[in-house]
Amino acid sequence: MPIVSTQHMDVAAGSLPTHQLLNVDGKRIPDEELDHYLKDLKEADLADFLRDMVVLRRMDNEATALQRQGQLGLWAPLLGQEAAQIGSVRATEDDDFIFPSYREHGVAWARGVQAEDLLSVWRGAQASGWDPNEVNIACQQIVIGSQALHAAGYGMGIKFDGGEQVSVAYFGDGATSQGDVNEAMVFAASYQAPVLFFCQNNQWAISEPVALQSRTHIADRAHGFGLKTWRVDGNDILAVYAATKAALAHARHGLGPTFIEAVTYRMGSHTTADDPTRYRKAEQLEEWKAKDPIDRLVKYLHEMGADVQSYEQRAQNAADDMAAKLRAAITTMEDPKVEELFSNVYAQPHEPTERAAKNYLDYLADFEGGE
């Protein structure tokens, strides 16, 4: 008997429904609970969604190519997760504070972070690509799940201050196995803090299928912590947007933390160092290509009778501009100065670090002088 079936979950009857507002053919499906949250969306917003997703996909392609050319040390592709990221972040307010993982490039970019600043971290030139206080996004997190606790703490702070904001934690399906994510849900629920836990279930944690992390739908688990929970089609930008709006409204009304499981798919490799052919079947990828989030929105725009060609052209132009600027910046980016090795270790003067820095710089100077 196999130790566990890693292919199938035991999804119990009574599991939460998976909301889908746009089917794979781009047809609008009414949703009693979520439709309300789309009422302010205009055609122009949808065109912006399209542009955002196209630019992101281009950024992902460019970054993968730059990694192959040795310009980046590593890259974690987000290919396929554009709707999950854009749909959710576009539903937030600028003063909602976001705690992302290493794959949320789209979230940061949508909040105004430049592509080259994002990539500089993957190049190894900078420790962080943005000022967290400027864009209200914490530093990207590599240690799986840690940021969920930070989000819970930030949410507790909002609650104690009587603020209107929500803190949002992004993480993957694998992260839900970590103690930190489970502890974060306990804290957020105990204090009824305004926190949204946003899980992008992209089916894989490197080589491990989601069924190895959870025997039920991940959303059903969150429910057990006392969180208001939605499970949505993560490749359907309308469903993601509407559920995020609903979750944020819930938290803002003082009703406590929420959880969204966005069911999506990581179409690329886990990182540029990974070889997905070792663990996943080509058919699975094909199956998900048919559910592509960008195609689906384009089909919907056609359904609406919109001037899709002009929107696509505009998106293309934005992607070209971003790519040209990105390449110019990355390929001429200078290495950090050696002084930076020692800067910001402490916030207040720290004599041993200063001495070590001085000794090393003197040593380098001697060395250059002596050679």
Partner: protein, 329 residues
């Protein structure tokens, strides 16, 4: 070295059915570094277990398996992800033999690819060895050569104490001509003099051993003879081998990638000062990583002790030596 580690695990799995491997991505994928490649296919998913993504869970369940008579070998995917398991390693694994007054054995091996120099992002280049050497109840091994990687992993797995096994990922692609499979059954490998010399005792382990060999070659050109010691085991430390060498050379330089303050270098220098005070011709020196969080990869060449910094230390202990000889004349 990857092949040697793979063969070591393979041989351990074949010889003892209580040996079981646990870790993230170690089964179908064969590990992100491929150390466990092919083992699941050969031994099955009951022996080579892909675990959920939870380090505390991995080490904690290994402890339970050890209670049950298994000899778990767990893989922590990268050095920087050891810390989520820190509580289970330090509060539980290290203490259970003591706490049970010897009634419970914890033959758990924790494999950790460690160290920098491969251009990785944050959390992929850490050197956490001092935390574990500081914790009583754990043994800490750090092989540097391909032969040692094979033999010491076998020793770790057969050891009835928990062993934190640091694999120098920078050397993963190192090859060897030697035949693998010869294992001394000692519970803690002794330090090894891998190059003899008469002027300065150079001590390193894991990835820095190679920098020391380069230093010995460079020093030879300058007419200085370096003795290079590979520690192999960091806990227990074979300080006798180092002390005997320092009694011959009178000078000591310790090199490691980990940060300087409260690191292993401090321990070794203190021990040698206590034992060899009368023999020392210069204060023992350390060449280490700086006391900074591991820097972005474009700065790591400064952080890691390189040949120049090591030679600078050699020159310092030698210059003092020459100067005092001059003064005596």
């Amino acid at each position: 070295m990857l092949k040697a580690l793979n063969k070591s695990l393979h041989d351990a799995l074949s010889e003892d059915e209580k040996v079981i491997l646990l870790g993230e991505d170690i089964g179908t994928l064969g590990g992100v570094f491929r150390v466990t490649d092919g083992l699941k296919a050969e031994f099955g998913e009951h022996r080579v277990v892909d675990t959920p993504l939870a380090e505390s869970g991995i080490v904690g369940t290994a402890i339970g398996l050890a209670y049950r008579g298994y000899r778990p070998v767990v893989e922590i995917q990268f050095d920087g992800f050891t810390y989520p398991a820190f509580d289970q390693l330090v509060s539980q694994l290290a203490k259970l033999h003591y706490r049970s007054r010897g009634r419970v054995k914890m033959p758990v091996t924790v494999r950790i690819p460690y160290g920098g120099g491969i251009g990785s992002p944050e959390h992929h280049s850490e050197s956490p060895e001092a935390y574990f050497a500081h914790t009583a109840g754990l043994r800490v091994f750090a092989p540097s050569s391909v032969e040692d990687a094979y033999a010491m992993l076998r020793q770790a797995i057969t050891c009835d104490d928990p062993v934190i096994f640091f694999e120098p990922k920078r050397r993963y692609h190192e090859k060897t001509e030697a035949e693998l499979g010869v294992v001394q059954p000692d519970a803690s490998p002794k330090a090894k003099i891998i190059r003899s010399g008469t002027d300065v005792t150079m001590v390193g382990y894991g990835p820095t051993t190679y920098t020391l060999i380069d230093a010995a070659l460079a020093a030879e050109d300058e007419g200085i003879s370096l003795e290079v010691i590979d520690l192999r085991s960091l806990d227990p430390l074979d300080i006798d081998t180092v002390a005997q060498s320092v009694q011959r050379t009178g000078k000591l330089v310790v090199v490691h990638e980990a940060s300087r303050t409260s690191g292993l270098g401090a321990e070794i220098c203190a021990e040698i000062t206590e034992r060899c005070f009368d023999y020392l011709e210069h204060a023992p020196l350390r060449v280490t990583g700086f006391d900074v969080p591991y820097p972005p990869s474009r700065l790591e060449s400064h952080h890691l002790p390189d040949l120049d910094r090591v030679m600078h230390a050699v020159d310092t202990v030698m210059r003092h030596h020459e100067a005092s000889e001059g003064a005596a004349q």
